[in-house]
Amino acid sequence: MSHDKLTDGELVRAVLGGDRQAFGVLVDRHLSAVVAVVGRIVCNRADVEDLAQDTFVRAFGRLGQYGQEHSFRNWLLKIATNLSLNHLQARKRERGRYLRLAETRGEAVAEVDEGPELPSPREWQYWLSKLDESQRAAIVLFHFHEMSYAEVAEALDAPINTVRTYLHRGRKRLRELMSVRPLPESEPCSAVI
């Protein structure tokens, strides 16, 4: 039987049975979603590729733990979300260490260490990059990938009410930001990522 006609669960079982090509089909099916989640959360083109690759490598190593009762896509996006948030936390810590070091040496902080490579304000991702990481992740998963509250809560390891709060505050913040500088409707957004 062709791999294309198999469900995600059947492909996972095939990989566990020794069929490595089945994993390639899973990559084909979900690569764009993983790249989208990582790119929208991290807001940095340079890191997207590495994080997307790490997501699949990690998923391959944990394929034996995948519970068939869950959607494979959501399971994969949970891994991608966790990796992205961890990456942002690590970068924040690194930035903090750099600032403290510069302070003790009495050096001026160089602008080159700003971290995320922000898109132009015209791009919609600019607004997302202005949100808190958890709010951004919740909005990306709930609105852009149409996960349910429960699925977002599982992906973020947070209670459902906390997810609701993230969404509410994130949208409120977006409205505040966009009321000052609205997104131009006349020009299409340039390619993101």
Partner: protein, 208 residues
């Protein structure tokens, strides 16, 4: 539907909590009302129509190349490489319990060695002898944290009890006699005040 209804229901609409008919009315209103579109349109556009994301060229092949050398996953098992924590691996070693017991015993032995031997405190003015560590520990457990003494091992509790008995064995007149005979001492109450107990001593006495 009025603009004020939109204001009340826009969050629920974004949350996908509205029934389909109500959601459709909200959507129609946003399309036709310029004020509401100006207020909620940009965020709605952002949330409902995200830009497509381009997959970097060659990423699929790089992922498969990275996975290729990995061993095949086994059902029910993880590669356990997400959180390698070698620094706590020794806790699972079979000798970890024995090591913990030895360290605890050594610590208790060290604490006991700090106690003055004999009843010399009876001959000396009581107040000039600072309370021994075990007494402090016993006060910490018995006086300031009632009910916590059970955390101490039995042998330590016995040692503490013995020391408390020795310390308090001096008859009440000892205090009085010393006060009368030694006029240089500052005035004393019949019961000495409980001194400030270092927190580390409290914790160690409680086996924390």
């Amino acid at each position: 539907m009025q603009c004020r209804d939109i204001k009340l229901q826009i969050e629920a609409w974004w949350d996908r909590d509205l029934p389909p008919e109500t959601a459709a009315r909200v959507e129609r209103h946003l399309e036709t009302c310029p004020d509401c579109r100006a207020e909620y349109g940009p965020v709605t556009q952002l949330l409902r129509h995200p830009e497509p994301v381009a997959v970097p060229d060659g990423l699929r092949d790089r992922i498969l190349a990275a996975v290729e050398p990995l061993p095949l996953p086994v059902a029910g098992k993880s590669d356990n490489r997400r959180h390698p924590r070698p620094w706590i691996g020794f806790l699972h070693a079979p000798w970890a319990g024995a090591l913990a017991a030895c360290l605890t015993f050594a610590f208790l032995a060290w604490v006991s060695s700090m106690i003055p031997v004999g009843g010399s405190h009876i001959e000396e003015p009581v107040v000039t002898n600072p309370p021994s560590p075990l007494v402090l520990a016993s006060w910490a457990g018995a006086l300031t944290m009632p009910g916590q003494m059970g955390a101490l091992p039995a042998i330590a509790r016995a040692a503490v009890f013995e020391q408390v008995v020795q310390e308090r064995a001096a008859p009440p007149e000892t205090f009085v006699r010393n006060r009368i005979s030694d006029q240089d001492l500052p005035s004393l109450d019949a019961t000495p005040a409980i001194p400030q107990i270092p927190i580390l001593l409290r914790l160690s006495a409680l086996g924390a």
